[in-house]
């Protein structure tokens, strides 16, 4: 009955392996939930948000709680999924909400649940002046503070 003994040994090892894998799986799920619903770090680069964000790339912490409750306000720097390329995320500032008047745009009133987002560097930014107001649900997070480079650590101004 040697094979019975081998079977029992195998079962013990398999259970141990399963336990380890399930710990890793649970951890990855926790990572996903935190990254999608609570807070995440993003590398942003490009000239469109100078001087607030550096040209050569910053790492910022963005929170994903406010936009689910509709608490995005004027002047917030938000992470938004680009309406021209759904695989790209862009960082811009909210300058116009539903019903607000702006001097920037020819037709200042935006429709329901759309926001106008503009980059701080108006000379080098494709934003709502090009692609129009974006539906609110494309907003995925609000920038909280910058964590890299260290000399610029802190909130964005």
């Amino acid at each position: 009955m040697r094979w019975l003994r081998y079977l029992n040994q195998w079962r013990g090892t398999a259970k141990e392996a399963f336990d380890q894998v399930s710990i890793v799986a649970k951890f990855l799920c926790l990572l996903h939930v935190t990254d999608r619903y609570i807070i995440s770090s993003t590398h942003v680069q490009g000239p469109s948000m100078l001087p607030t964000l550096n040209l050569t790339g910053d790492v910022i912490l963005a929170e994903h709680v406010s936009h689910r409750f509709g608490k995005i306000g004027l002047g917030d720097v938000v992470l938004v999924r680009s309406p021209t390329d759904p695989m790209k995320m862009v960082t811009k500032r909210v300058l116009g909400l539903e019903g607000h008047r702006l001097s920037f745009f020819a037709d200042p009133l935006v429709g329901d649940d759309s926001v106008n987002v503009v980059g701080d560097n108006v000379h080098a930014s494709t934003d709502s002046r090009n692609f129009g107001p974006v539906p609110y649900d494309l907003i995925e997070g609000k920038a909280l503070l910058r964590v890299w480079p260290l000399r610029c650590f802190g909130s964005l101004r």
Partner: protein, 153 residues
């Protein structure tokens, strides 16, 4: 003491289950009920809410946003961000759609959606092309009621 321990164990299990459930629902697939008859007869062919269809929505398509004409998708409304609609994609970026009065080009990164039941459907003919980023999943099949279980083409 035993009750406290039991409560803690149950809370831990519920929390873990919840996190795993949310991850699966976000990355893999979820089941959603269909309300309204804008997709008749494909979905909800009867107007009786007791017989509403439940459909399986897969989320793998959100990795690369590659859709084809004819896909039935779930997307957030461009006008009321808390609402979700289910419609069919009839126009991909760059294509021309002839709506009631004129011919419209679907811009890059957007798509044109219409319900199968054109008479009672709030879709792109009203709110225009929607950004692909609003799409939350693709409907693959009906899972309830049992006699309607089928794949959606």
């Amino acid at each position: 003491m035993g009750i406290q321990n039991l409560l803690w164990q149950v809370t831990k299990k519920a929390f873990t289950g919840g996190i795993i459930g949310v991850t699966i629902s976000d990355r893999c697939c979820s089941v959603v009920p269909v309300r309204g008859d804008s997709m008749s007869p494909t979905l909800n062919p009867q107007r009786n809410s007791y017989l509403d269809d439940y459909v399986l929505v897969e989320k793998f398509c959100l990795q690369d946003y590659k859709f084809v004409r004819g896909d039935v998708v779930v997307f957030s409304s461009p006008t009321h961000f808390k609402d979700k609609y289910i419609k069919r994609i009839v126009g991909l970026p760059g294509e021309w759609i002839s709506s009631s009065r004129d011919v419209i080009r679907v811009p890059e990164g957007h798509c044109w959606v219409e319900g199968d039941n054109k008479a009672s459907s709030l879709d792109s003919r009203t709110f225009g092309p929607i950004p692909l980023g609003l799409i939350r999943g693709r409907v693959t099949s009906v899972v309830w009621p049992p006699q309607r279980v089928s794949k959606i083409s």
